[in-house]
Symmetry: C2
Subunit: 199 residues, 2 copies
């Protein structure tokens, strides 16, 4: 009797192959054909899992987002209970920056996805949803911290949320070695320190 | 007698064709062949100007950077003389964000270039140099403002420079409509206000 194929596992193996292609040859080489070759499956088999390049990219992006969420989860589990919102934000922002190999893969994937999304309405919709979810999470943390007197009450939660999200602007600076990981983390810490010192 | 071709003009026309291809079909479609078609020249003619895709991308990127520098120049010329460093930084950061069509084209070009640079050592070198130049300009402004007592003397110029550069993190948020232009500008203003209010 033939072994049942675990579809999720197969999809994840394909996502990994896509990451390797992007990592080694760049986004523009990430065609269905090239990814099938890297994953060691036929183009037909790959198309059984992903009908289009855009479906493959979306899965790979969401898989990357899930892995980032898992890393954040593990980081949060290591904090004291209940955690200080400043520490929560440090874990969230830290895992969004390309500071270690897994985060680098996710971050590169995400930058490529945003670029692709700019001229693909379906991807744009999904990418926008993901970012809006992330923004909502950060905004909730900021509003709770203001309500608890951990951030000054005259801080505008929308502005503070946007400034926190903008810290992901370290991504290209880190990727090209213009800013070192220690310096980026020190700057993020300084920003968080001032935000919470305002109370 | 045949008209002499203005080489710089021809190169710029090709750069514009590349931007249109990237804008309409995305970075991965920006091959020499596709750009030649869009520019209305033969592949051979295009290769006369650019020997490789990477040479074409580099020229288009530097052309975009020059246009950004021109816009910054015009913005600075409109400031009072001598300009306040806060206003200089607002002009520089404002022109780096995708807030109007020309800045959107440059910003998209630059994001794509960074991605391409990650696995192309020659592009990486150039992209890194460009970003380091930009960083040095911002750092000089910050150090001067500290020396003149416009920013508090206990602010670390390296950290402040990095935090200012990280504000370009609004780029993907603006591009995908997660943050509106007014909100991004308000957040940049708030950051600059606090930096200079520290003195």
């Amino acid at each position: 009797m033939p072994k049942l194929v675990d579809h999720q596992e197969r999809r994840e193996a394909i996502a990994h192959a896509l990451w390797r292609v992007v990592d080694q040859h760049g986004w523009s080489r990430a065609t269905l054909r090239e990814v099938a070759r890297e994953a060691g499956v036929s183009l037909g088999q790959l198309q059984h899992y992903f009908a289009s390049r855009s479906a493959m990219l979306t899965f790979a992006m969401e898989f990357a987002a899930d892995r980032t969420a898992d890393r954040v989860e593990r980081g949060l589990a290591a904090l004291e209970d209940p955690p200080h919102p400043r520490d929560v934000l440090r874990v969230v922002l830290g895992e969004m920056l390309p500071l270690h190999p897994d985060a680098r893969a996710s971050s590169r994937m995400s930058a490529a996805y945003v670029l692709e999304a700019l001229h693909d309405p379906a991807l744009r919709e999904r990418a926008g949803l993901g970012l809006r979810d992330g923004r909502a999470t950060v905004e909730r943390l900021v509003r709770e911290a203001i309500a608890r007197g951990q951030i000054a009450p005259d801080r505008d939660p929308d502005v503070e949320t946007d400034l926190l999200l903008a810290l992901t602007g370290f991504t290209p600076l880190l990727a090209l070695g213009v800013v070192e990981p220690d310096a980026a983390l020190a700057a993020v810490d300084q920003h968080l320190y001032r935000l919470f010192a305002s109370a």
